[in-house]
Structures are given as C-alpha cells and as structure tokens.
C-alpha cells in the first residue's frame, strides 16, 4: 500500500490547505528549513493512520494540540492505492474540543505507516537491553517467550529456596534428636527408658519405639495421661504461633486489597470521565480507555482473588485450630472424669485449663464468623496451665510417667526427623525436575530468539555496511543475552580484535544513528508490513555528505518497490536525491508564515516554467521562476564536477557568476565541450531573465518566446554533459583524480 495523495488542512503548522500529489506512489524528498512544517506532514500521516500522534499520547496534552491555533478543525485526508480515508478533529487548543467527526476509514483499516524520526532512532539505540528485547520481540511476534521463560526461572528459584528451607528444618530435627539422646547411643537410651517405664517388651531400636503400643489409659497413672495432654499442648502452641498470625495477616491482606481495588477503580473512572470532557475524538478514546479500564479492573480482580485464596487457606487452618482445641478439651475432660474421685491435687488446675480452652474455642468461632482478628493471648493461658500440669506430673515420685513421657517425646522426634528427611528427598526431586524444565525452556527460548534475530542480523549487518562503508566495526548484529535477564543488545567486532557491547562504548553519535537506521530498514526488509511506504524524518542530521549519499543509494538499491518520504532541511541531501534518485518527486517549502504555515513548491522548476508559459502567463510574471531555472541548471555541473567558484558565505550566486565559473572550470579542466556556443548564449538568457524579473508592469519587452528559447538552451546545456552513445553523464565517468572519460571518448577532459 502506498500514498498517492495527501490533503492536510488546519493540522499543526499547516493552517492553509495543502495537497501533496504522489502519483503512482512516487517517493518524495521534502526539503524545508527547520520549523517549516516537515514534521507536521509526518505527524499528519501518523495521526491519519493511528488516530493519534506518539508525542500527544506520551505528553498527555490531548488531541486538541494537533489543531492549528487559528483553525477550528483539522482534517487529514489520504488517498492510497487501496482507497481514500480521512480523519477530522474539531476544536482548538484554546478551548474544549467539540464533538469530532472521528475516523472514517473507507474500504480498508490502515495500520501505522512505518516512520523513523531522528529522536526515536536515538531513543531506540539508547534503550536498555530489556526494552530493546521487548520492542524487537513484539515486532518478531515472540512476546510470550519472555514471561514463559521468567515464569519457569521463578518457579525454579522458588523450588530451590523451599528445598533450602526443608534442609534447614531437617538439620534442626536431627539436632533435636541427637540432643534428646543426651550422649547415649540409641539402643542404650531406649532400653533404659523402657525399663524405667516398666514395659513388658524390650525396646532398643527406632522402629520398635515407633511401633510401640502405649499402655491403655485406664491402667496408667494420671501423670501418663497428662503426657498425652502435653502433646496436645505442644500442638496448641504450634497452632497459636502459626494459625493466629496467618489468619490475622490474611484478614489485613483482604482489607488492603479491597481498599486498593476500590480506590483504583474510582480513580480510573474519574480519569476516564475527565478525558472524555477534554478531548474531541471520543470514539478513539472511549475504546482505548475502555480497554485500559478493563485491564485495570482485571488486575484488581486478580489481586482480590489472591487475597481471597490466602484468606481461604487461613480460614481452613483456623478451623483446624478450633478442631484441635476441641480434641484437647475432650482429652482433658476424660482425665478429669477419671480422677474426679481420686485425691489428685491438680484437678482445679485441669478445670482451669478446660475453661481457658472453652474461651479460646469461642474466640475462634467468633473470629471465623465475623472475619475478625484473633487474639493471640487466649491460647497462651491454656498453654501455661498445661505446662503447670506437666511439671506436676514430672515431680510425682515413683511414677513411670516421666519415662513414658520421655519415650513419647523421643518417638515424636524420630517421626519429626524422618518426616523432615522425607520432605528434603521429595523437594530435591521436585527442584531438580523444575530446574531441568527451566533449563529446557531457557535453551528453547534462546534458540527461537537467536533464529529470529539471525534473519534480521544478516540484513542489519549488510545495511550497516552499506551506510558506513569502511569502518572498524564488523559483524554488527543483535544478540540475545540470557545470562542476566534475557535482554537484546547490539554487538560487533571492533578493529577485528575485540567484541564490543553495548555499542555506546566506542561508537560516535553518527555511527549510533547509522546503527538505528540500519535496524529500522532491516526490520522493514525482513518483515515487511502491508505498507510499502516508509517515512524518514530528519534522520541524517549527524551524517556527513558521504553517508547521506550512501543512505540514498541504499534506499534506491534495496527498496526499489517502496515509496520513501524523506524529510530534510539539508539542500545538499535534496540534491543528492535529485542525482541518485531522479524518479523521486522533490518538494521544497518556498515560503512560510505563522498564520498560514508553509507553501510547498515543486522543485521541477523548468517543468513548471514550461507549464505556465503554455498556460499563457505573461513573461514578466515568470521572471523569478526563469531565473531559478537558469541558476539551477548552471549550478548542477559545477557541483557535480567539483569546479571552483569564488567563496560566498551566504551561498548566493547570480546566474552570470555560475556561467563564468562553469566556463572557467571547464577550460581549466580541458573539457572537450568547454567552448560550446550554448555557454555564450546563456549570458544573453541571463540578461533576459533579469529584465523579466525587474519589470513587473509588462513593459520589459521580454516575451514568452524568449523564455522558451531559454528553456531550449538549458536543455542543450544538459546535453553537453551527456554522451548519447554511452548514455552517461560527465560526472558519472569522472575518476577520483577529476579526469572524465566515457567509453567512446565524447566526454573527455584532461
């Protein structure tokens, strides 16, 4: 798809309607001084194809900033080879925008016209490796690889961290077990305790202890039964230190998530409403804002879902806590019932414990029902009372309770140690599996991105070479680097010696600019969009003459079927385009006023002069155009052949000065056609054009026929530098030493 015609009215600095015709999708070189409307044309094309302009979106100034200060509305109408479409903004920056016409795309849905501006080129080169990766992978259609890779890496990290925690827990369980043996070996320790507990069976191994059936409760003293209560008390402690904190954290989490979600939604809604009031293209904005709003609502919903999941887990644990307390209550009640008729002095204490547990159970129920925080002190009361009972049991003389209690504790530690070891083994297997999965993912992602980049790199290196010619940088490419966070960065070999990355280490601004430009063009070449139009806005600012010429040659050779819109303030680049790409249309901003903006003039001066003569305009009206034509025709061979002309800092020469310099240069150079008669006739032509310029009242005596003779002479001037046989111009057969010689010898000089 190419642009055939643009009509811009009231847009940015283009107050007066302007039309740019690019018949058959011709390329265009738009020449204008700084601040004379080039970027307005580029912005108009961007606005037309996207509905906004990048800097408007970035700075949040509103679309009204695109309407000329003195205009009521702005319209951009573009005709392409696929159809015609227009966008209109109504309003101005001085007041609120009225309802805009909105996009009226007829026949096709445009996508952004590929555009490279000087600032975006530099910005890309300066981006971080991560941002470069994001932009390039988006372009290559590989955006999902990054979260996939990062997700696997995060899972592997988390598994490794949990494995480390499990290993620490196992170490602690083992240390506790060793400590409980008190320096004895297992067999001795267990045998001693079994004897002290007056057990019938012999116990010398861990497995025997694990399978030991504890004596029935009716046949053991109260203190032994209290050992069971002691275990429950330990469970109570564990629950108190975990479930209360987890429950309270989940409650707080849920509140925070709910508040953040609601306030964010409120803020977002207010922002969207404010934008609707400020801007005039509501259809675009509504869709955009609705999409943004939907994303944000989705994010808040996800936060709430996570908080809810945590809450559910905590609630389940709190529920378990309530059940554990109930079990504790039942066990204690059994003990109290058994000892009700005995002289056990600690019955009142046991009753207190029961009461404390009852209160705690009530507190848990209330918290669950009302989603309130739990008080961490209630289980402490129960724990303290249970500890008192345990101490009393230990103090009972001649009792087998302490030995049974210690056996019970040893058994619990064996179980804890074995469970911790099993947990380590399980986590080692999981960690090794997820790390292997992450490694497979890492390799696959690297290969995929490398493959995608290699296609781009081949073209990037070639284009960069064509842009810079001889340089100390070779093997220029983009590399995916997974060592850190998986960024993409430029890399190259410097001076055939050392790999350099990032390029800023050694490259100058112009070399970096060439790199950005080469990448932009390589992207278009490797993955061409639907458009066959590209816009280059002031991208050669830091290039010297040779590099500018190389760019134009690269565009002509590598993008022959593309339409290039090249905007520049540099007349020399414009002349290079004229020489290297004669088929391109050239437009120059001939005048500019703040109120009306630029006036575009086509630089085919001779063609326009001929048209206006044929249209019957008076010769005295055409003096300026005629003078421009003769100056242009004489200046070109001087420049192309490198002939001398006296220095004028303002670079303004008359036609006669050009003519004399040309004759003198050709004679000095021994050019075969240095004395061609047309060079003398041009002196008369110059006088005639001067008269036409200075007599505006139709009394100069110059006629249209005189100007037609001038045009014939200019064509003849072109001809003396052209060999019909070799079909070459003199400057095309000029050697580095300045010697001109075509194959047949017609164009020759010393």
């Amino acid at each position: 798809m190419k642009v055939v015609r643009m009509r811009i009215d009231g847009f940015r600095s283009l107050r007066a309607p302007q039309t740019i015709d690019l018949k058959d999708g011709r390329s265009l070189c738009l020449l204008a001084d700084n601040g004379r409307g080039k970027s307005s044309v580029v912005d108009a094309l961007e606005f037309w194809s996207t509905g906004t302009v990048e800097w408007v979106r970035r700075d949040g100034v509103g679309l009204g900033a695109l309407v000329h200060l003195d205009a009521d509305s702005a319209t951009v109408e573009v005709t392409t080879d696929a159809g015609v479409a227009s966008r209109t903004l109504k309003g101005s920056t001085s007041g609120p925008l009225t309802a805009g016409q909105g996009p009226m795309i007829v026949g096709f849905a445009p996508e952004p016209v590929p555009t490279l501006r000087n600032r975006t080129m530099a910005a890309f080169v300066d981006k971080t490796a991560n941002d470069k990766r994001t932009e390039l992978l988006t372009m290559l259609g590989l955006t999902k690889l990054v979260p996939f890779r990062l997700g696997l890496r995060a899972a592997a990290r988390r598994a490794r961290s949990e494995l480390n925690d499990a290993r620490k827990a196992a170490e602690m369980a083992n240390a506790a077990w060793e400590q409980s043996l008190d320096g004895d070996d297992v067999a001795t320790r267990l045998a001693d305790l079994a004897a002290a507990a007056q057990l019938d069976q012999r116990i010398t191994t861990e497995d025997q202890l694990l399978h030991l059936e504890t004596p029935p409760s009716a046949s053991v003293p109260a203190s032994t039964r209290l050992a069971q209560a002691d275990e429950l008390a330990a469970a109570n402690d564990a629950l108190a230190s975990t479930s209360v904190m987890a429950w309270n954290a989940a409650i707080a989490d849920r509140h925070i998530a709910a508040e953040r979600g609601l306030s964010a939604l409120l803020q977002e809604g207010q922002r969207v409403l404010a934008e609707w009031e400020d801007d005039s293209c509501p259809l675009c904005l509504v869709e955009q804002s609705r999409a943004e709003l939907a994303n944000r609502v989705q994010d808040r919903a996800a936060e709430l879902a996570v908080a809810d999941a945590r809450f559910t887990t905590a609630a389940a644990r709190a529920e378990e806590r309530g059940q554990a307390i109930a079990r504790l209550e039942r066990a204690l009640r059994a003990v109290i019932d058994d000892e009700r008729n005995s002289d056990w002095s600690h019955l009142p204490v046991a009753q207190d414990v029961l009461t404390a547990l009852g209160l705690e159970a009530g507190a848990v129920k209330t918290a669950l029902r009302g989603r309130q925080a739990l008080n961490a002190s209630a289980p402490t009361l129960a724990s303290e009372a249970l500890a008192e009972l345990r101490e009393a049991a230990l103090r009972a003389p001649g009792d087998v309770g302490p030995a049974l209690l210690q056996l019970s504790q040893l058994r619990a530690r064996i179980q804890a140690r074995r469970e911790a070891d099993e947990d380590v083994a399980r986590r080692e297997a999981i960690t090794s599996s997820i790390e292997k999965a992450a490694e497979i993912g890492e390799t696959a992602v690297r290969v995929a991105i490398d493959q995608a980049l290699s296609g781009l790199n081949e073209t990037l290196g070639s284009f960069y070479g064509k842009l810079v010619g001889q340089s100390p940088y070779t093997d220029v490419r983009l590399e995916y680097r997974d060592a850190r966070s998986g960024g993409v960065e430029f890399s190259f070999i410097w001076d055939a010696r050392e790999e350099v990355c990032p390029p800023q280490r050694v490259m100058s601004e112009s070399q970096l600019g060439a790199l950005g430009l080469a990448l932009f063009l390589a992207r278009l070449s490797v993955q061409p969009p639907d458009w066959r139009t590209m816009v280059l806005d002031d991208v050669v600012t830091s290039f010297d003459v040779v590099h500018r010429a190389r760019l134009v040659r690269l565009l002509v050779e590598e993008f022959p079927n593309w339409q290039v819109v090249l905007c520049t303030h540099d007349p020399q680049l414009s002349r290079t385009v004229h020489d290297e790409a004669p088929a391109w249309k050239a437009i120059k901003v001939t005048s500019w006023t703040p109120t009306d903006g630029p006036v575009f003039g086509e630089s085919d001066v001779r063609g326009r002069l001929r048209q206006r003569i044929q249209a019957g305009e008076a010769a005295d009206e055409l003096g300026g155009l005629a003078r421009q034509a003769i100056e242009q025709a004489l200046e070109r061979p001087i420049r192309q052949l490198g002939l001398k002309i006296r220095h004028d800092p303002t670079n303004t020469y008359s036609a006669e000065e050009y003519r004399r310099a040309l004759i003198s240069g050709l004679r000095d150079g021994g050019y075969a056609r240095a004395d061609h008669p047309v060079l003398r006739r041009l002196a008369t032509d110059g006088s005639v054009t001067n008269r036409a310029c200075h007599f505006k009242d139709h009394d100069s005596g110059v006629t249209p026929a005189d100007l037609e003779l001038l045009l014939d002479d200019l064509d003849e001037l072109d001809a003396i530098f052209y060999c019909d046989t070799c079909q070459k111009r003199a400057w095309e057969v000029r050697s580095h030493s300045g010697h001109c010689q075509c194959s047949c010898g017609a164009l020759s000089c010393a």
Binding site: L145, F148, A154, A309, R426, G441, V445
Partner: protein, 56 residues
C-alpha cells in the same frame, strides 16, 4: 514459528525429559497463555510426589 508453537514444543520437551517430566503436568496446567498462574503453580509443585515416594 510463533511463540505459541514454540511454547507448545517446549512443554512437550519437558514432558519427554526423564528428569523434568515430574513437573510437566503442573507447568502445562498453569501456563495461561500469557504468563504463569503463580500461586496455583506453587501449590501444584508442592503437592508433586516423586514416583518412588508415591509408590511407597
């Protein structure tokens, strides 16, 4: 080849690998097309049982 196809291939490779296959199902189940569902993936990985432990 697009990113969806690449990721599908990677998941197949993980599943086919002796060492990594243990967690393949958890990873496959929690890749939502644009990222990993972190908490459920974590829970799923925690509940994975190595074959020999599951058998015992």
């Amino acid at each position: 080849m697009g990113d969806d196809e690449i990721i599908a291939d990677v998941l197949d490779s993980i599943e086919a690998d002796d060492q990594a296959s243990l967690v393949a199902a958890a990873i496959r189940a929690h890749w939502n097309g644009a990222g990993f569902d972190e908490e459920p993936l974590r829970a799923a990985l925690s509940s994975v049982q190595p074959p020999e432990m599951g058998q015992s």
